[in-house]
Symmetry: C2
Subunit: 156 residues, 2 copies
Amino acid sequence: MQEKAFQDFYPDEFSHCYGCGRLNEHGHKIKSVWDGEESVAFFTPDGRYMALPGFVYGGLIASLVDCHSTGTAAAAAYRKEGRPMDSEPALRFVTASLKVDFLAPTPMGKELELRGRVVEIKEKKVVVESRVLAGETLCAKGTVVAVRMPPGMMPK
Amino acid sequence: MQEKAFQDFYPDEFSHCYGCGRLNEHGHKIKSVWDGEESVAFFTPDGRYMALPGFVYGGLIASLVDCHSTGTAAAAAYRKEGRPMDSEPALRFVTASLKVDFLAPTPMGKELELRGRVVEIKEKKVVVESRVLAGETLCAKGTVVAVRMPPGMMPK
């Protein structure tokens, strides 16, 4: 996949997130792109992120849903304004709420596919629903309410 | 605190979870105990788990809520049966759903306090509400629906 990911457009000061920051050397560095009306990301968990031997830890699933969904929210906001993600003013989103339903145990060792869909988009709030699939198995469904970043969180 | 944590009672095969497994050398190893009717855990995030410089990553908050709440669910189930957590038969819980509301940015470098409360307890389902505090600031609230572990997830 040659396309630049949503997260690759984040400026350096927003690129330290453990879930999706390209500058966080310890983190997951997830990469999300559009696939038509859905956003998609692929991720193969490192074995240390287990719940039980053979199964992925729910906290990782929640993290992937969170970062994929907030990335999708930002991308959707730019898309709605008809401008690229590296244009000004910057549109940054943080998570107001995260809900994950774990539908099936997530097997370790398989590439996971995250697929996001914007279900509501307003100037200061975007709601994204994401699915986590391991092959044909729907392992989890998530809903993220993303809101424009409060000024107090903005890096100086 | 000298008391043995809920997670210290988990048998070895259930002690590999990235969030709470005492045998996962990479993980968070959270430790939860009763404090009257509430469960409590203290945790100081490592700096790599950041969202932005100065703030803790939401995926970690979700993970802490998840593991503290499932631990509380298991402890509550044993307590309801009036027997210690290392007695048979084993009562294991996994997360069916996790909801986290992020109420305030969580500052990095402070010890976080998690406090859980059982709001529903049935044989196969326990609902736990947890709060995440940084000092006096309520940073997040979570609700976990924990269910008895399905046989297919049980380690051989």
